[in-house]
């Protein structure tokens, strides 16, 4: 029971600090919307391409890409904040407390989960305000929020593992461009069928492919565009594997010190 309180306290702290640090807030809330605006205005002709699915709105089709980009950035900034805690000594304060070591990782992940929920809700609302349609309905939007949140935890796990392994804030900051590699090797803004064969092959190995397609399938109500269960499996698998990785990285860090 106490560990649950610890996780909650650490999650609350991670979330509140996120909103007080502009360099973390900007990439998580503003950058994805900027990319959404650019893609929505610059590539909307793509929906006229042969093979592009017949959807209610182009914006509604590409919002899932923004949601997944947000999840990626939420996870990464969470790892960056953890690296900052390690580098500036705050993590020692946590280590000196009588709490289960795993709770320190889970607490951070809880903050990432909360951030992603707020972020995805915000993106969905902005999309709606600018004309996106979500024929899948309210329940589908909720499911999309859950999927994105689990994915953010998955990415947060990788970032936390890196932070715990290296304790380097600058390293975490330098991997920021990889977000776009992961994003564009998944069919974030275009249907998988319209990607080049090479990219399509790469996308098949990117777990984000299944999440973004699942979110798209949910929001558009067209399950042919993405299988929600496959997306859930990919997101949960990623989250479990990377959280375990982060826990192992913490154990290794503690052994090394």
């Amino acid at each position: 029971m106490n560990e649950a309180r610890v996780v909650l306290a650490l999650g609350r702290r991670a979330l509140s600090v996120q909103f007080r640090r502009a360099q973390l807030l900007m990439p998580t809330f503003v950058l994805p919307l900027m990319l959404l605006a650019v893609i929505a205005s610059g590539t909307s002709a793509a929906q006229d391409l042969r093979g592009f699915p017949d959807v209610a709105s182009y914006l509604g089709f590409i919002v899932p890409g923004t949601i997944i980009q947000g999840a990626l950035l939420a996870g990464l900034t969470s790892g960056t904040a953890l690296a900052g805690d390690i580098e500036f000594g705050f993590f020692d304060r946590l280590l000196a407390a009588p709490v289960h070591r795993t709770s320190l990782v889970i607490g951070r992940q809880a903050g990432t989960l909360g951030l992603s929920v707020l972020q995805t809700t915000f993106f969905l609302c902005v999309g709606l305000a600018f004309g996106a349609h979500y024929p899948g309905g309210f329940g589908a939007a909720l499911a999309a929020i859950v999927l994105a949140a689990i994915t953010a935890v998955g990415i947060g796990g990788i970032a936390a593992a890196l932070a715990l392994r290296t304790g380097s804030l600058s390293l975490l900051q330098s991997i920021f461009p990889f977000v776009f590699v992961l994003l564009f090797t998944a069919p974030a803004f275009f249907p998988r069928e319209l990607l080049t064969p090479v990219l399509r092959d790469v996308a098949a190995y990117n777990p984000l492919t299944y999440v973004v397609e699942a979110v798209r399938g949910l929001l558009t109500g067209e399950h042919g565009l993405g299988d929600p269960w496959l997306g859930l499996a990919a997101a949960v698998g990623l989250a479990l594997a990377t959280t375990m990785l982060a826990t192992l990285a913490l154990a290794q860090r503690l052994r090394a010190t």
Partner: protein, 329 residues
């Protein structure tokens, strides 16, 4: 402070070694014991092994060899019990600048198992105790160095620890903030908390510590009460400056019975130097004796051996704030 004989030592260290990569031994066979209720000053220059020792004692670092027990618990085998028993304020207060003082205290309360209302109440008590009630809801980034240190202390006290570790708690603080922190440390000790204080300031160790351990190159090179340590390097000296050189003979006659007179210095004919075990307490009898012999005195100064003299004697180097002379009359 009285100590029950059945209580285990608050800190017990035996043959502690910590080796880092490249074979560097930051702690090299450390032995020490701190009794419950003591303020133990752990004194040494930068790089002597103070912080490494504290990190081991607070479970943040594993020893390479040897053993350490805090509040009766082994720091490796029973680390969680150690963590429940100790409060830690580490060097350069590691406090999230984006959180408020109250938020940090409530979070610390949760880490130590306090439920919502209890954590809130405890946070309020501690904020009041360290004089931060007015600043409680301001972000810590806007706090002064002294405020941060006081908050750090409050954070270390959330769960009413048995042993409090303070790692260079006043480094970089102005004299007023330093004085306020010292008062708080004394007050905590009066309430029964054992304090393990690392410092590189002689004055801090002299002001606060019941006993002092001097560490150099990872080893304890001297230990004892400040007075006992200082007595090891010599007695205090009374420097009497006379108004006239002609009265030096009478002055020596007057002071002869109060201690051992140093030989006259031809370069300072108006000065008489007396070695006395009584230190400051010898000033009044000396003035009286000089007055009775009709000697006019210009000034009297007491020069007491400092912990730096002790440190210099045992290690051959000097510490921060060395060379202070207490002046009187």
């Amino acid at each position: 402070m009285s100590v029950s004989e059945s209580n285990p030592p608050a800190v017990e260290v035996r043959g502690l070694v910590r080796e880092f990569k490249g074979g560097i031994r930051a702690v090299d066979g450390l032995d020490l014991e701190v009794e419950p209720g003591e303020i133990y000053g752990f004194l040494g220059p930068n790089g002597a092994g103070k912080t490494t020792s504290v990190r081991i004692l607070t479970t943040l670092l594993r020893p390479t060899a040897g053993s350490a027990r805090v509040a009766g618990h082994d720091v490796v085998a029973d680390a969680d019990a150690v963590r429940r028993s100790i409060g830690v304020a580490l060097q350069e207060a590691a406090i999230d600048p984006l959180m408020t003082g109250r938020e940090l205290l409530r979070m610390q309360g949760a880490l130590h198992g306090l439920r919502g209302p209890a954590a809130r109440e405890r946070a309020g008590q501690l904020l009041e105790r360290v004089g931060l009630t007015q600043a409680a809801d301001r972000r810590v980034g806007g706090y002064s160095g002294g405020m941060r240190r006081r908050l750090d202390l409050a954070l270390a006290l959330v769960h009413r620890p048995i042993v409090l570790f303070l790692d260079e708690p006043t480094t970089g603080l102005d004299p007023t903030s330093r004085g306020a922190l010292w008062r708080e440390v004394r007050s905590l000790n009066d309430e029964g908390t054992t304090v393990f204080l690392t410092t590189q300031y002689l004055e801090e160790a002299e002001q606060l510590a019941d006993r002092v351990g001097i560490i150099a190159a990872g080893r304890l090179v001297a230990e004892g009460t400040p007075d006992a340590l200082k007595a090891r390097v010599g007695q205090p000296m009374l420097h009497v400056e006379l108004a006239e050189a002609e009265s030096a003979g009478r002055a020596r006659d007057a002071l002869g019975g109060l201690g051992r007179l140093e030989p006259p210095d031809p370069a300072a004919p108006t000065r008489v130097v007396l070695r006395t075990p009584n230190g400051k307490a010898a000033i009044a009898p000396a003035i009286r004796a000089l007055d009775e012999h009709g000697v006019v005195v210009e000034s009297v100064e007491v020069e007491t051996p400092t912990l730096d003299d002790v440190f210099a004697a045992v290690t051959g180097s000097q510490l921060e704030g060395a060379g202070a002379v207490e002046a009187a009359a």
